[in-house]
Point group: C2
Chain length 224, copies 2
């Protein structure tokens, strides 16, 4: 209850992973209250302590389900292979909340090849598992985690998908808090575009010998 003050506490599920850890660090440094989750509560607490020491901001860690229960915004950063089990684990405690799904449906070993799921995109799977009482937004598919983990500017937009404009706007602001430009990109089904793009970025990294290609939309986005 005390964690649910404004601005809302963010639970990062899979927070000991590369993307989750990098987002948590940037959000903590921006002044947001962050909880780190992992399947392994001890590992999450260790990572949270390290992050607290580094940033000077108190970050707590715990089991995915426990930190999800304590936050109003739950950001899921797990591999595609763990998405269903993770969402099923936290389903009961995220009802009525905002869940930001960052899952990219990479199917190893062919991660340079787009292999979207039968549902159309990983975000649609999240909606199906969590149900209609959860506001789902998908985002953060394309940003290179190892770049986000530094303090450098990251030359990549965050395309933000979801049915509800207000929920998308909250995530656009989370992107900005992490030092990225977030852009409204339409309905949850549109997440297929960003999820597929990740395989393109992995391909061009290899083909052109690049470290961390990104994506930018061009146009006069200044107005809104």
């Amino acid at each position: 209850m005390s964690d649910a003050s404004n601005p809302a506490t963010i639970a990062v599920i899979g927070g000991t992973g590369h993307l989750g850890g990098a987002l948590a660090r940037r959000w903590a440094r921006s002044g947001r209250r962050v909880l780190l989750g992992s399947r392994d509560a001890g590992k999450a607490r260790d990572a949270a302590l390290a992050l607290s020491n580094e940033t000077g901001v108190k970050v707590e860690g715990g089991a995915n389900r426990d930190v999800a229960e304590r936050a109003l915004i739950v950001v899921v950063t797990v591999p595609f292979g763990s998405q269903a089990a993770t969402l099923t684990d936290i389903r009961d405690v995220v009802q009525g909340k905002l869940v930001v799904d960052c899952t990219v449906p990479l199917v190893p070993p062919r991660v340079m090849r787009v292999q979207l799921p039968a549902e159309g995109c990983a975000a649609a799977i999240a909606q199906r598992i969590l149900g209609e009482q959860v506001s789902i937004v998908s985002a953060f598919h394309n940003v290179a985690a190892h770049k986000l983990a530094t303090d450098a500017a990251v030359d990549c937009d965050v395309l933000v998908f979801g049915e509800q404009r207000d929920a998308r706007e909250t995530v656009v602001r989370l992107a900005e808090a992490a030092g990225l430009r977030g852009l409204h990109a339409g309905s949850l089904a549109n997440s297929a575009a960003a999820e597929a793009l990740t395989s393109i970025l992995i391909f061009v990294n290899k083909h052109y010998g690049i470290d961390g290609a990104g994506v930018r939309l061009t146009g006069s986005f200044g107005a809104k």
Copy 2:
């Protein structure tokens, strides 16, 4: 036969449309030999005459199948609803050639929503219809036709998909001849990413009040 000299003649199928007309114009002005095709041969001849007069380069027009027969590179720029019929029409005369499919699977009226076909992408449909003896590359999904129709620089990359690197490279150079940056983006299945992105661009154009948003990949592409 005389049309099949090097550099290869380009037949633009659907060449009286916005994208096809704009590509044909840019290629003609770059010195490429271009044939304009349409279902209506007379309309194609009229458009070719207008293009010849404007550019000072001789452009010929004719029925889609006739111009496809006379070229080694066949660029298909038709709406998704016409893709299957158009490819079936030209199938016999493009065997052994390079076909560049530009089809974006928009399903009106909901063009701001990604609705990829069951095959995964429109490029996969092209491969299925044309067969394995046709080298298929897909590209030019994201460039705004009305911007391409001008002489201005267009702030948009061309993501180029196909199984064969040499065929992709030919299309990367076609993009450059049209004044655009072409990038190798992996296998034909990866075309789903660019095809889906078009709905995102249509969405952001409306949401942010932009005229002709585009997409750029970021990173150090200079090397290759």
